[in-house]
């Protein structure tokens, strides 16, 4: 061993290492060569499979302001807590710790949160996330400051959790004008199917002005483009299109008048109930007869549009549509249909005068009762006035005055029919000219405005054909469920009559229509439009709430002008006559003036009462008023037309009278709530919007 020559040590062992190294490197190279050049099953490139997705940044909705620029609907910014599922997935524990911490903070369970942020799929039942899988999921809206502070101060403990500012609708005056403004709802899949511009992150106007002017108010959503891997993971962020807030809708509603109308309506309901009346509901409409713009529209009962923000609960919705609670969601001022009672006499007078059935200087009888076709028809409380002119027939509201000529008109038509000539149906045609039986085309959704109705020969026949079987069955059955003997007899008799003679239009029907009873119905808005025509030379407006659209910079995009639908074929002479006849300056001679006897402005306003009888219910109380009057040329004009209606509250003079008086007090009293005591005539200045930015 000792004499072994000195040589490079252990060549064999070195050889092992060299061989290992060389074989490793050769293996690598061979594999590389195979993978890159030889492999027949080369995996295909997936990078081109990247596709664009986008995260929608919802635009803040536009404001709705009143005629003086005061916001009725505006935006407020709230804090929303979101969870980014992708970030959680990348954590070692898949975000379990973060979720349980967050659950503790929000007062829920980690399990529940985990479900909420999992994208929905056939295998994943609710609760689950309906949005895009790569989109951060909102888990708490309206986050309290404590939660926001905790999350932002301990960011490291809340990986993937973010707080963002979102805009949300706010109603600064609560329920004010709720029926007109309408409510919003979250966009559903059906909405998206109908309109591809929509996104499920959006809010859409679902009723009222919010729905009618949705395209104006919605604005355009912003988009954050993201590149997604085929697996749906975000790979990179692309360009970002900022959201554009919707334009502002200026309405002709005057906040002060609207508020006063609602307060007065609510107070009248309370007062009438105190007086022992059911007073289930009511409505007030205030409009400018000269422009066709609606200044206030109040309905009772009302609802809180805030219930609809972020989706209304089923229980709340049931409550709002429950007939037992008088259907608070129903906009009675515009969508309610009621027998107008004596307020209809404007239309009857127009028809009778224009067809020379009466004149303005002769007197006509006003007996306590009148028998038409074997049926006794009476005045209200069977009052006897003797021979009266039209002036007093309107002022004292005599019904029998109108029965005779309208019954005569019926008989004349019948003899025309017997001779093979068509019936004239003057009264019906005049009602149609005044807009009865056709929706007023106010700028609200078509389903939210009532058309009103009246009976004529043709509709009577058509309805009978459709319902005959039902009437006859009811007559045979005889209403055993009705307790009251008299009611049961009446109903059975009615059904029996309808069964055999239901097609027949009778003289009594025409007489009923002349005093706004029978099958005659109108909405408070329609009545306001009819009386507006009397005070504007006969123009029937297609009325509006919307007045102008103003963009984010405060520039007027367009103004909305009410259109004249038609002119009623009535002479100015009659309008002046009726206006004079019903002026409250006549004091006790005008039934509507009773509540206004002490008012300083009494001489400047006028009005017609209505007390409509409804079978099985108490009378509907109506009052249609106008004022302050002024002369223009030879015509009497008015700044406002105001119609009030309270269901089941008694006579027009006792319920609607004092209700509207409180509003007139505000408009014409010593300190008018509207500057100049007349409707605003110019669009208000709308300040440029302060942008509410999301994220």
């Amino acid at each position: 061993v000792a004499d072994r020559p000195r040589r490079p040590p252990s060549p064999r062992r070195f050889g092992i290492v060299v061989t290992l190294v060389i074989s490793m490197m050769l293996t690598l190279f061979a594999r590389l060569y195979y993978v890159q050049l030889l492999d027949p099953d080369k995996p295909t490139q997936t990078a081109h499979l990247l596709h664009d997705g986008y995260i929608v940044v919802p635009a803040a909705r536009g404001l709705i302001v009143d005629a003086r620029g005061r916001p009725l609907v505006q935006n407020t910014s709230t804090q929303e807590v979101t969870v980014d599922r992708e970030v959680l997935q990348k954590l070692p524990d898949k975000g379990r710790a973060v979720l349980s911490r967050l659950a503790g903070l929000l007062g829920t369970t980690a399990d529940r949160l985990g479900k909420e942020i999992t994208p929905c799929s056939p295998k994943v039942p609710a609760p689950c996330w309906t949005g895009q899988p790569y989109q951060p999921v909102p888990v708490l809206s309206d986050a309290p400051t404590g939660v926001v502070l905790t999350i932002s101060e301990h960011r490291e403990q809340y990986a993937g959790v973010a707080v963002q500012t979102v805009s949300r609708l706010e109603y600064p005056y609560g329920t004010l004008a709720a029926h007109v403004l309408g409510y919003t709802s979250d966009v559903t899949a059906q909405d998206v199917a109908k309109n591809s511009d929509l996104n499920e992150a959006d809010t859409i106007g679902a009723s009222g002005l919010e729905q009618q002017y949705d395209s104006v108010l919605r604005g355009s959503d912003g988009k954050q483009v993201v590149q997604l891997s085929p697996q749906g993971y975000t790979v990179s962020y692309g360009k970002r299109i900022p959201a554009e807030q919707g334009d502002t809708l200026v309405t002709s509603i005057d906040l002060d008048v609207q508020r006063l109308a609602e307060q007065s309506l609510a107070q009248q309901i309370r007062d009438s109930r105190k007086a022992g009346k059911p007073a289930t509901s009511g409505a007030v409409v205030v409009m400018d007869p000269n422009t066709g713009r609606i200044i206030a529209a109040a309905s009772y009962p009302t609802y809180d549009p805030r219930l609809f923000i972020g989706g209304i609960s089923a229980a709340d919705y049931r409550r709002l549509t429950d007939p037992a609670a008088n259907t608070p969601l129903l906009s009675r001022a515009i969508a309610g249909e009621y027998a107008p009672g004596s307020t209809f006499k404007l239309i009857t007078s127009s028809s009778l005068y224009m067809h020379d059935q009466i004149n303005l200087h002769d007197t006509y009888p006003c007996p306590g009762s009148l028998t038409i076709d074997g049926r006794v028809k009476t005045n209200y409380d069977s009052e006897v006035l003797g021979p009266v002119t039209l002036e007093n027939a309107l002022g004292y509201s005599c019904d029998t005055f109108f029965y005779r000529p309208t019954a005569d008109e019926y008989y004349a038509d019948q003899s025309r029919l017997a001779k093979g000539k068509p019936a004239r149906e003057w009264l019906q045609h005049m009602a149609a000219q005044y807009g009865v039986g056709r929706v007023p085309d106010v700028d609200l959704p078509a389903g939210e405005q009532a058309a009103g109705s009246y009976a004529d020969r043709e509709t009577r026949m058509a309805r009978w054909k459709a319902n005959r079987a039902q009437y006859c069955a009811a007559a045979r059955r005889g209403y055993p469920e009705v307790k009251d003997q008299a009611d049961r007899t009446y109903l059975t008799q009615l059904a029996s009559e309808n069964c055999t003679d239901g097609w027949r239009y009778r003289a009594g029907d025409n007489a009923d229509m002349s005093i706004g009873q029978g099958e005659t119905t109108m909405s408070p808005l329609q009545l306001a439009l009819a009386y507006s025509a009397m005070l504007n030379g006969g123009r029937i407006w297609e009325p509006t709430f919307g007045w102008g659209v103003v963009d984010g910079r405060g520039k007027v995009v367009r103004t909305i002008e009410p259109k004249v639908r038609n002119r009623v074929p009535v002479s100015q002479k009659l309008f002046n006559y009726v206006t004079k006849s019903l002026s409250f300056s006549r004091g006790w001679a005008v039934s509507g003036a009773f509540a206004y006897m002490d008012s300083k402005y009494r001489d400047r306003i006028g009005g017609k009462t209505g007390t409509a009888e409804v079978f099985g219910k108490q009378d509907t109380s109506w009052l249609a008023t106008w004022g302050p009057t002024y002369k223009q040329g030879g015509s009497t004009r008015a700044r406002y037309v105001m119609v009030g209606m309270v269901e089941q509250a008694g006579t027009g003079a006792t319920a609607a009278g004092p209700m509207l008086k409180r509003i007139w007090d505000g408009l014409l009293g010593p300190s008018p709530i509207v500057p100049g005591a007349k409707p605003a005539t110019t669009l208000p200045h709308v300040a440029p919007q302060v942008r509410v930015v999301r994220r």
Partner: protein, 386 residues
Amino acid sequence: MTLVARDPRAPFTLTPPVLPLERRTRGYDLPLAGIALVLSLAGAVLVWAATKESSGQAFLYRHLLNLAVAAALMLATSRLNARLLRLFGPVMYLGSLFGLLLVLVAGSTINGAKAWIRLGGGFELQPAEFMKLGLIVGMAVLFTRYRDDRGEDEPPTTRDVLTAGVLIALPIGLILLQPDLGSAMVLGCAVFGVLIAAGVPARWTVGLLVVAVVIAIVVVKAGVLHDYQLARFEVFAHPDRDVQGIAYNVHQAHIAIANGGLFGRGLFDGPQTNGGFVPEQQTDFIYSVAGEELGLVGAGAIIVLFTFLCWRGLRIARAGDPTGRLVAVGVVCWLAFQAFQNIGMNLGLTPVTGVPLPFVSYGGSAMFAQGLALGLLQAVHRRAFD
């Protein structure tokens, strides 16, 4: 010429203030340093290519900073003489062992392994990287301790081998507890090289291998390994299974490399790379960037460079003194196996075990340890050739 000539009788030598380049580099293996530098710079470019979409130049700068520190460490280590080397081994070993213990107590977890010590300021240290050096040098010192008493080429005694066994078992055990299977395998391979080069009898070497296999089986059965580690082996056995989960990395790297072809898609133009499809691409899967963007030519060049690196290392080993030889063989086995393991897993040849590609991958601790390793090779070279 005039100044370089040295008169042995001269009472003192004059060292000129500025040495000519050949004098300053004398004793260094410049090709070795050159190859490492080329690999590291290629690494810098590839790291940049992998991260430019998401992080701009941040990773590029940090990689270059790591490289500069590693170069300084290499220069410092290359000055070690035999005596200091004997000191360096145990100090490195004990220091790293302490580090490994510290990691278990207070380490931070990245990608499932508790392998890092947080230093603050965003810097983290991975003791396992330094343990590779410590163990190699420690064993080299152990086996050549009594070299002067015994014959030049005597194999280590049984006692030495048993001592070595304990020295090996401690760190590998600690690393497996992290658990960092890749580092343990690299460590085992480096040790295997040292044992072979030291002339340990075949029965011991084979015996240790058997023990290692038995331990591996026990480890798997006893559940020391985490589910994800077993899953990685599962994926290795069935590459088409579960593309979404663990196999995703491997699959994406495979797509990238396979579509590189002969010349690649062009630097910075790899669609899979730029699309961010390959996770951990700047560290463990850096090779897939080379495969996709530089093709067979570029990716093959990296293998060739590693082959040259190993050749230079083995050349140094062959010429070195006994201790230096063992150190050099150990370092070469370490780097070669780590490169094999890393490139192999990029190519779907070996299981995914989270080891970086030496010099090329982004990562401070690995780069520093490799700088120290090259420094040791240079030190061995200087003594052999100076």
